[in-house]
């Protein structure tokens, strides 16, 4: 399913998962502390497994299997019924659980805005800052060519 075919809420959840996936577990947990997280149960205990990573021949052609990556996943259900999922590279079950928790909270009327302002906004700022720092370091290594003009005579 491509991102264009997602409904509004799915698109929001997906964007949030992207931010959370790029964030450090302790940061997610720290920002979530500001919320009065409602009671919830674990639908799927955090579980580690593998995902086969695929590339494309020539970068844009038919897919091929490049190699696997470790992935942790979890699912939770809020007492109010919303189900949240967490998937993340690595073997950090706590992180998968926290992503699942945020995913469920986003789907509620009560917590949706709070997750956005108190968790996702500061995390997103960190992710963007990190990306900009890398871009700034990289840009400094861009080659500026100049042509030496051969002297006449």
């Amino acid at each position: 399913m491509t991102s264009s075919s997602l409904n509004h809420q799915q698109a929001r959840r997906r964007e949030a998962m992207g931010v959370l996936g790029h964030s450090v577990t302790a940061d997610i947990a720290g920002y979530l502390d500001a919320l009065a997280v409602p009671s919830h149960e674990q639908l799927r205990q955090p579980e580690n497994g593998l995902v086969m990573l695929r590339g494309r021949i020539g970068g844009d052609g038919a897919p091929f299997n490049l190699g696997e990556a470790t992935v942790s996943r979890a699912a939770i259900r809020l007492a109010s019924g919303e189900v949240g999922f967490g998937y993340t590279l690595g073997r950090d079950g706590v992180k998968a659980h926290l992503i699942a928790l945020c995913d469920a909270l986003i789907q509620t009327v009560e917590f949706s805005d709070a997750v956005e302002t108190k968790v996702l906004t500061p995390l997103r700022a960190r992710v963007v800052a990190d990306s900009k720092r890398k871009a700034a370091e990289t840009a400094a290594t861009k080659v500026d060519f100049y042509t030496l003009v051969r002297g006449e005579g």
Binding site: M1, T2, S3, L6, Q10, R13, R14, M17, G18, G21, H22, N48, G49, L50, V51, M52, L53, R54, G55, R56, I57, G58, G59, D60, G61, A62, P63, F64, N65, L66, G67, E68, A69, T70, V71, R73, A75, F85, Y87, T88, L89, G90, R91, S131, K132, R133, K134, A135, A136, E137, T138, A139, A140, T141, K142, V143, F145
Partner: protein, 369 residues
């Protein structure tokens, strides 16, 4: 034939204890941490992840530490670990055109959109040992260009492709499952998806030598490094329970597009051909070698004579895996006592026949017994 031999338990146990002691080294020297290995020996970690075929920096660092820096042993450990986990599925194919580029160079075009970006490279270093690193080094902070936006750059092959100067990548056939050599035994001829999977996890040294051989004339190859890029790409996984492709985070990849000499026919205008390399982490030598060998292995498809080892897919794919290779080579040190006894018996018989036929004593025969 190997024979079960009992009686070595104590020796094995003590040998492993001694190994752990040697691994630790001088106990007055601080023990190396996984974070230190991951951060400061990052390219070793990248190689172990690539050839271990498992993207997990911490596990690769652990494998390197446990293997005392023996890379093939570390790769073996990572492969073995992989077998202990269930597979959730396959990712959506990563899109390297959307890579957040940290390095991107081309030997074919000086000026191209996005430019030549050197990034963290050994290129242009003088290869002189740096005495500063014998102690604690405190390198300068990297230079920055403030306000630079994350670099999404078009691939050089896409630029060439617009004018039809280079062949298009093979199109995806939704009906055809993607080959997976971890699930199905290899058979030949092998399609390019399987070949690339094999090359991606192949021993870097083996591919380097084969690629080099093709440059020296053993196999048709006239390449230019069209583009090498390093950076982070997003990974997505179609999670059925969630109902859409979930982002898993990003991974570091190196990609190489080799541009090679032409193909053409009565009906098709000549165009450049290409070879492709892709690997985990910063693995530039690996992806360049991989792209060279990917191209030589396309000899059959492109109607070229198969004369050199680098063009022989059965030869290349059957010998590229260093875990398989080391298994077979190193098994020679396991007890072969019965095998050897039978060969010894046969040899004595042959020597006796030889001696009887020539009526000359075999002087060393008795000594050998």
């Amino acid at each position: 034939m190997y024979v079960a031999v009992k009686g070595g338990e104590r020796a094995i146990e003590n040998a492993h204890r001694l190994l752990a002691h040697e691994r630790r080294g001088d106990r007055d020297v601080p023990e190396v941490s996984l974070a230190q290995i991951s951060n400061q020996l990052g390219l070793a970690v990248d190689r172990v992840m690539t050839e271990g075929s498992l993207y997990d920096r911490e596990l690769a660092a652990l494998a390197i530490k446990q293997a005392r820096g023996d890379m093939i042993e570390a790769i073996f450990l990572l492969r073995a670990f992989r077998a202990t986990l269930p597979r959730f599925g396959s990712s959506e194919p990563v899109d390297t055109s959307q890579m957040q580029v940290r390095r991107r160079v081309s030997s074919t075009f000086k000026d191209m959109p996005g430019g030549q970006v050197l990034g963290p490279t050994f290129d242009y270093t003088h290869r002189l040992l740096d005495p500063v690193l014998t102690g604690e080094s405190s390198p300068e902070q990297p230079a920055v260009v403030t306000g630079a936006e994350p670099g999404i750059m078009p691939r050089v092959t896409d630029i060439l492709g617009r004018d039809g100067l280079i062949e298009a990548s093979p199109a995806e056939d939704p009906e055809k499952p993607v080959g997976d050599l971890t699930r199905d035994a290899l058979s030949f001829p092998a399609d390019r998806d399987l070949r690339l999977q094999n090359l991606a996890r192949a021993d870097e040294g083996f591919l380097l030598s084969l690629g080099y051989s093709s440059q020296r004339g053993y196999g048709r190859n006239h390449p230019f490094a069209g583009e090498i890029r390093l950076g982070e790409v997003e990974v997505e996984f179609m999670a059925e329970d969630v109902g859409f492709a979930v982002p898993l985070g990003s991974i570091t990849l190196t990609e190489c597009q080799m541009v090679n000499q032409f193909k053409g026919s009565d009906t098709e205008a000549p165009c450049f051909t290409r070879g492709y390399g892709l690997a985990f982490g910063q693995s530039e030598r690996k992806v360049m070698s991989m792209a060279l060998v990917d191209r030589t292995l396309r000899a059959r498809e492109l109607g070229e004579d198969i004369k050199a080892p680098a063009q022989d897919e059965e030869f290349v794919m059957s010998h590229s895996d260093n875990v398989q290779a080391t298994g077979f080579v190193e098994h020679l040190k396991l007890p072969h006592y019965v095998d050897f006894q039978s060969e010894l018996g046969l040899l004595r018989k042959l020597r006796k026949e030889f001696a009887d036929a020539n009526e000359t004593p075999v002087a060393l025969q008795e000594a050998a017994e």
